[in-house]
C-alpha cells in the first residue's frame, strides 16, 4: 500500500483488525438473526447452509462479537468521552448533513455522532449477550423460567433491531464522508481530511508532533 507523505494514522493495525472482526460478526449475526426473526428473511439462513446451521452458529458468533467489541471499547473509550463541544456540534448537525462544516465547532478525534454509535453499541451488545444466553435453547433452557425466556426473546429482538438501525447510520456515514473508509481499511487520512472533519484532533497531533492516531504526550521537560 502506498501511503502519501504527510498522511496521518487514523486507526492503527490492531484497531483495524479488531474493527473488521466485529463488523464481520455483526453482519453474520444480522443475517442469521433476521432469518429467524421474520419468515420474509428466512431464506437468508441458506447463506449458512440451513436454518439449523444459522440457528446453531448465531449464538457462537454473538460471543465472538461481544469479546471483539470489548476490545474496541478498551481502545476507544477515552476518545469517546462526552464534552461541551459535542453539544455545540449537535446543534449544528444540519450544517454537518449539508456538508458545510465551516462554522461547526472544531471536533476532536470523534464527533458526537460517532460517540453516539460507539456508546449505544456498548450498551446494546451486553444486553444482547445476556438475553441471548437466556434464550440459548441448547445449553440454558432449564436455567430460567419460560416467561423469562419469552421476555428475553422480545428484548433480544428489540435490541437487535436498534443495533441494526445504528449500524446502518454507521455504515452510511462511512460511505458519505469520503476518506473514512480508507481510514478503517488502510488506516490513514490526509491532513486535509483531518483539518476538515476533526480539526481539534489534527491540531493536537501537529502540536505534539504526532502523526496519529493519538497526540504525543507533552511533558514539562519536553515542553520548556
Amino acid at each position: 500500500m502506498t501511503r502519501p507523505p504527510g498522511a496521518l494514522t487514523r486507526n492503527d493495525t490492531v484497531t483495524r483488525i479488531n474493527h473488521w472482526i466485529t463488523a464481520a460478526c455483526f453482519i453474520l449475526l444480522t443475517v442469521s438473526g433476521l432469518s429467524m426473526f421474520d419468515p420474509l428473511l428466512y431464506w437468508m439462513s441458506n447463506l449458512f447452509g440451513s436454518g439449523q446451521w444459522a440457528r446453531g452458529a448465531h449464538p457462537w458468533i454473538g460471543i465472538v462479537l461481544f469479546v471483539s467489541y470489548t476490545g474496541l471499547v478498551i481502545q476507544f473509550w477515552r476518545d469517546n468521552m462526552w464534552n461541551r463541544d459535542d453539544i455545540a456540534w449537535m446543534k449544528k448537525i444540519d450544517r454537518v448533513l449539508a456538508n458545510d462544516e465551516e462554522d461547526v465547532p472544531e471536533v476532536g478525534r470523534f464527533n458526537a455522532g460517532q460517540k453516539f454509535v460507539f456508546w449505544s453499541m456498548a450498551l446494546l451488545i451486553p444486553i444482547l449477550l445476556i438475553t441471548g444466553l437466556i434464550i440459548w435453547q441448547t445449553y440454558f433452557w432449564t436455567w430460567t423460567s419460560i416467561p423469562t425466556q419469552r421476555a428475553g426473546l422480545l428484548i433480544h429482538s428489540l435490541c437487535a433491531i436498534a443495533a441494526i438501525l445504528i449500524w446502518i447510520v454507521h455504515v452510511y456515514a462511512a460511505i458519505w464522508v469520503r476518506g473514512s473508509m480508507r481510514a478503517m481499511t488502510q488506516g490513514y487520512v490526509t491532513p486535509g481530511w483531518a483539518w476538515r472533519h476533526h480539526r481539534k484532533w489534527f491540531r493536537s497531533l501537529v502540536a505534539t508532533g504526532s502523526n496519529g492516531p493519538r497526540p504525543n504526550v507533552v511533558t514539562r521537560e519536553t515542553r520548556e
Binding site: T30, L40, I175, R182, T185
Partner: protein
C-alpha cells in the same frame, strides 16, 4: 470501501429480495408441503389373532408381523394392539398388554438350553439332547429309588414324592392336559400351579 458497499447492497438487497420472495408466495414452506405424515406402518403387515398372555381378562390382541409369508422373508413381530372385535376389551389394552411387543422381544428371552453343574457359579450352553437325556436319567433314577408302591399299612399307593412340579399358568389347556398326563403317569403328587400366588 468496497467491503462496506457490499454490506450496504446486501442489506437493501435483502429487503428487496425478501419482499419479492413473499410476493411470489415463498416462505420456504415448499419443503413442508412436500412432507407427509409418518407412513402407516401396518399397511402390509400380517395380522394374527391371539390372546394377551398376562391376566384372566384374556383380552383379544392383534399381532402384526412383517413379511408377507414369502419363503425368503423371515417374519418378525413388529406391533401388537387390541382386537376391537373382542367382547371384553373391545380393542383396549392395559399398560402390560400395550407393551407385549417388548416381552416378545425382551433381551431376557432365553435362546438355548443351559446347564449349571453342581458347585458351579455359571450357566453353560448345552444341546437339547444333553439336557433331556440328563433330565430323563436323573428323574428315572430318583423315581426308581423313591417310588412308594405300598404304604406302611400295606395299601397300594403308587406315588412318587421326591420330585415335584410347578405347572405354568399361562400355558394353554392343551399343554396343561399333556403335562397332567405325564406328571401323573410318573405318580407325582407334589404338583401345583399358580392358582394360589
Amino acid at each position: 470501501m468496497t467491503l462496506t458497499r457490499r454490506g450496504f447492497i446486501k442489506l437493501s438487497g435483502a429487503t428487496l429480495a425478501s419482499s419479492s420472495m413473499s410476493a411470489m408466495g415463498f416462505g420456504g414452506c415448499g419443503a413442508a408441503l412436500a412432507e407427509s405424515v409418518r407412513p402407516y406402518k401396518l399397511a402390509a403387515a400380517k395380522e394374527t389373532r391371539n390372546t394377551c398372555t398376562y391376566c384372566s381378562v384374556a383380552c383379544g390382541i392383534l399381532i402384526y408381523t412383517s413379511g408377507d409369508g414369502a419363503k425368503n422373508a423371515h417374519s418378525n413381530i413388529m406391533h401388537i394392539e387390541g382386537d376391537p372385535d373382542h367382547p371384553v376389551n373391545r380393542g383396549t389394552l392395559c399398560p402390560k398388554g400395550s407393551a407385549l411387543l417388548d416381552v416378545v422381544h425382551s433381551p431376557g428371552r432365553l435362546q438355548v438350553p443351559k446347564y449349571r453343574a453342581p458347585g458351579s457359579n455359571e450357566f453353560k450352553e448345552v444341546t437339547w439332547d444333553f439336557a433331556l437325556d440328563r433330565i430323563a436319567r436323573l428323574m428315572k433314577d430318583d423315581r426308581d429309588a423313591n417310588f412308594i408302591a405300598k404304604n406302611e399299612k400295606g395299601q397300594t399307593v403308587n406315588r412318587w414324592l421326591t420330585t415335584g412340579m410347578l405347572a405354568a399358568s399361562a400355558t394353554s389347556n392343551e399343554t396343561a392336559l399333556l403335562t397332567w398326563k405325564v406328571a401323573r403317569s410318573f405318580g407325582m403328587l407334589v404338583f401345583d400351579n399358580q392358582a394360589r400366588v
